[in-house]
């Protein structure tokens, strides 16, 4: 049997490694772009000494769809479907952030009913997105899909509500400049009431299953730690930032859509580890349910969409609007040159910026820790690459 070149080279490398120094050299392992734990097409290149991560390098761009450039060719209204596909697990939040930016540029006043409906769907989206985030996080910790499927049950009900309202489940395209596309259907509010009635018991079940689980504690506590100073310096946001104990939530700090009129609290962690991020998300779901309860109780009547021309031409200028998406600060920056399409369309994706701290969090831990940390950051690769 003749040896192939690859084998010979590999053997040569092995022999050199065995004869040099202590006989060991770090191994570079690619996690992704096709890998069960990367939540999409994302590549994490880790240098390992045994199981210990020495270096981590993030390679992104496999899902780049050129959204920002494409948006410069389309009118302001036509750009809304793009935002669905940026963060496909929180389409409503993306719709909302973009519409807020466009409304600022156009100077549109949004009617109160539309504001309340926007809050309702943004919070439902948060419940769905956190269900996904926590479920996949536990999966990354090695559970065999059970918590994920239980949480998917709740997400499924939220998606059903999206479907009955706007016809789509994932890429909703529901918000419009000046309001929302459709008024609430008759069957939505009873469904939502039932959902709000059932959720506390479901959450109690998850908490009973997960919160005191010693293995989960062992896997997530003290893993992927980041200090509040470092988190702020890295400009992290969302549950990753709040897990370190920094109480920063745009719904409180810079209220939009009338969030100031609802009563809710901002949960923060202490240690800044993976478990705190997980707990913060669990607590945020409860706060979202509180907000939803108030929205349902105080839903005003009136128009759901302001009178905005379909192909509006804003005055030359720029605008930036930001919302607290489930993953953190989601911002849209628009520049108008007076034409029908934005001159510049830029998205500040929370996933990308939160991901930038992964290297800091994972060096010195094991390979398994790096994966748990990646899961706890809750990235959406569509949003990273756009």
């Amino acid at each position: 049997m003749t040896m192939s070149d690859d084998t010979r080279l590999a053997m040569q490398g092995t022999i050199e490694a065995l004869t040099a120094g202590d006989g060991s050299e770090p191994v570079v392992v690619n996690l992704g772009p096709q890998h069960p734990s990367t939540h999409g097409v994302f590549r994490l290149k880790v240098t390992l000494d045994g199981e210990i991560v020495q270096d981590a390098e993030m390679r992104i761009g496999y899902l780049h769809r050129s959204m920002e450039k494409l948006a410069e060719e389309r009118s302001y209204t036509q750009n809304i479907p793009f935002t669905d596909r940026i963060d496909y697990l929180a389409a409503m939040s993306n719709n909302l952030a973009y519409c807020l930016a466009a409304e600022e540029l156009l100077g549109v006043e949004v009617p109160p009913r539309a504001q309340a409906i926007r809050v309702m769907f943004a919070e439902l989206q948060r419940v769905a997105s956190h269900a996904m985030a926590n479920g996949t996080f536990i999966n990354d910790c090695g559970a065999w899909h059970t918590p994920l499927f239980h949480m998917f049950r709740d997400r499924e009900r939220v998606l059903d509500m999206f479907e009955m309202t706007c016809g789509a489940r994932l890429t909703t395209n529901y918000m419009r400049i000046g309001g929302v596309a459709f008024d609430l259907p008759d069957e939505l509010l009873p469904t939502l009431e039932q959902f709000l009635a059932d959720m506390p018991e479901n959450i109690a079940n998850y908490e009973a299953l997960l919160l005191e689980n010693e293995i989960l504690h062992a896997r997530a506590r003290g893993v992927g730690v980041i200090s509040p100073e470092m988190a702020i310096n890295s400009s992290l946001s969302g549950p990753v930032l709040r897990g370190t104990g920094v109480p920063w939530d745009l719904r409180k700090a810079n209220p939009y859509c009338g969030y100031e009129s609802y009563e809710f609290d901002v949960p923060v962690g202490e240690q800044g580890d993976c478990f705190d991020r997980f707990l913060v998300r669990m607590a945020e779901v409860k706060e979202s349910l509180r907000i939803l309860r108030q929205v349902v109780d105080t839903l005003p009547d009136g128009p759901y969409l302001a009178d905005v021309p379909l192909h509006a031409r804003p005055e030359p200028g720029e605008s930036y609007a930001r919302v607290e998406s489930p993953r953190g600060e989601l911002g849209f920056y628009l520049v108008s040159d007076g034409g029908p399409a934005p001159y510049r369309f830029h998205c500040r994706p929370p996933s990308l910026i939160n991901l930038s701290a992964l290297k800091e969090m994972s060096i010195g831990g094991t390979l398994a820790d790096a994966i748990v940390t990646l899961g706890s950051i809750d990235i959406v690769v569509g949003e990273i690459d756009r």
Partner: protein, 434 residues
């Protein structure tokens, strides 16, 4: 009267059916009438082996279905329900698909060593069944050192796993193989020690002897040595690569571990052997710690192998349950748990078993009185050991509770963070900690 005679003949047939050894005896006697002795022993041996293979194959297909159905129920799904009645033929469809798939091999793989493991892995997987006693006289080979045989054979599988991981020329596979080797070496120690407890206490290394000891003393070993049973259960599930110890094929970390590069039926063979091992380990747990084919006299009326299968099913369900519930431990945590918890605990009970055995034999204590007292003492000792371990060996990050506080009106950066953290009132949520 004819009715009664008919009934008794049916009962007689049932009595024969109870112990499949009778069938073997009939064949042996028939051959002995016309043939040499060695022919009879060879033929009965081959029949036993074929019988076991004939049992494993269909059982595996059903087991795949059972495991998928049960896991699906844990996960609020239906599970397979399309192929055949209630989805029962799903494993058959899967097997056909796997057979039809192309068998790929990486270009730079070490071809010979790469092709061998899926076949070799079958050898320990089948051999291990040979010493499993299905009844008082129903095992293919009732060795007087059965425990040793069991441990020796199960230990060889790791060599095959390492061959698979090494020859694949794939980093995930190599990681999986290295983890499997490290884990197998570590977890064999508590496994051996747990079995040594039974060997010391019952005074026999024959597996059937251990069952018969339990029958004779009217007690099952899980009551006498609960911690050894739990340690054996955990060590076995680690050897089987099942959650919470499936690090050698941890999907979210190293894709599929040592069999990442195997496709088609080669993967299917690994999968089948893994499931078969799960079944046989459940059977051995049932045999060693739950009394095997014996169940307080019920084995007089029900075929002993049905009792064993029922107990095996219960243990197997427990394995599925843990798999469906628990996350996975990290490599270092698994190793630490083995060497810092399981080895000392099992070692402690080897000493306890030695002392208690001495009390029973040398001091001549009455077993009917002494055994219940020993059981209570051992259970208390196990609980104490577990609690001591929980207090002493907990890693530092777990000693502090995780807390969630509500920010209230403090919204902002570091200063607000300090203010929230300095609050006196109880946090909204507090979990874990000592």
């Amino acid at each position: 009267m004819t009715d009664l005679a008919g009934l008794s003949s049916v009962l007689g047939a049932w009595y024969d059916f109870r112990d499949l050894n009778n069938l073997q005896r009939l064949i042996t006697e028939w051959i002995a009438d016309w043939g040499p002795d060695w022919l009879a022993s060879i033929i009965t041996g081959v029949l036993g082996a074929l019988g076991i293979l004939g049992v494993i194959g269909p059982t595996l297909l059903i087991l795949i279905w059972v495991e998928r159905k049960v896991i699906a129920r844990f996960q609020q799904r239906y599970g397979p329900n399309r192929v055949g009645p209630k989805g029962l033929l799903q494993p058959v469809a899967d097997a056909v698909k796997l057979i039809l798939k192309e068998q790929l091999a990486p270009r730079a793989a070490d071809k010979l060593i790469f092709f061998l493991p899926p076949v070799l892995i079958f050898i320990p997987g089948v051999l291990i069944w040979g010493v499993l006693p299905f009844g008082p006289r129903m095992s293919v080979a009732d060795l007087n050192v059965g425990v040793l045989f069991l441990l020796a054979v199960s230990g060889t599988a790791v060599l095959v796993i390492f061959m698979a991981g090494w020859s694949s020329n794939n980093k995930y596979a190599l990681f999986g193989a290295m983890r499997a080797v490290a884990m197998s070496i570590s977890y064999e120690v508590p496994m051996v020690l747990a079995l040594l407890t039974l060997v010391v206490f019952s005074g026999t290394m024959s597996i059937n002897g251990i069952v018969q000891w339990q029958q004779q003393e009217d007690v099952i070993f899980i009551l006498l040595f609960p911690l050894s049973a739990i340690a054996f259960f955990f060590a076995a599930s680690a050897e089987l690569n099942r959650t919470p110890a499936d690090i050698s094929e941890a999907e979210s970390e190293i894709v599929a571990g040592y069999h990442t590069e195997y496709s088609g039926m080669r993967f299917g063979l690994f999968y089948a052997v893994e499931l078969g091992n799960t079944l046989v380990v459940s059977a051995f747990i049932a045999t060693f710690f739950l009394g095997g084919w014996w169940l307080w006299g019920l084995d007089q009326w029900v075929p002993s192998w049905i009792i064993l299968l029922a107990k095996t099913g219960a243990v197997y369900f427990l394995l599925i349950w843990t798999r469906g519930t628990l996350p996975r431990l990290r490599v270092d945590q698994l190793m630490g748990f083995c060497w810092k918890a399981l080895v000392p605990a099992t070692l402690l009970f080897v000493v306890v078993a030695f002392v208690e055995r001495t009390l029973l034999i040398s001091e001549g204590w009455d077993t009917t009185v002494a055994l219940p007292i020993m059981a209570v003492f051992n259970i208390a000792l196990s609980l104490g050991a577990v609690m001591l371990f929980a207090r002493v060996a907990r890693p530092a990050p777990l000693r502090r509770p995780a807390r969630i506080r509500m920010a209230g009106s403090d919204i902002g950066g570091l200063r607000a963070a300090r203010e929230v953290a300095a609050r006196r009132e109880a946090p909204q949520l507090q979990v874990g900690g000592d």
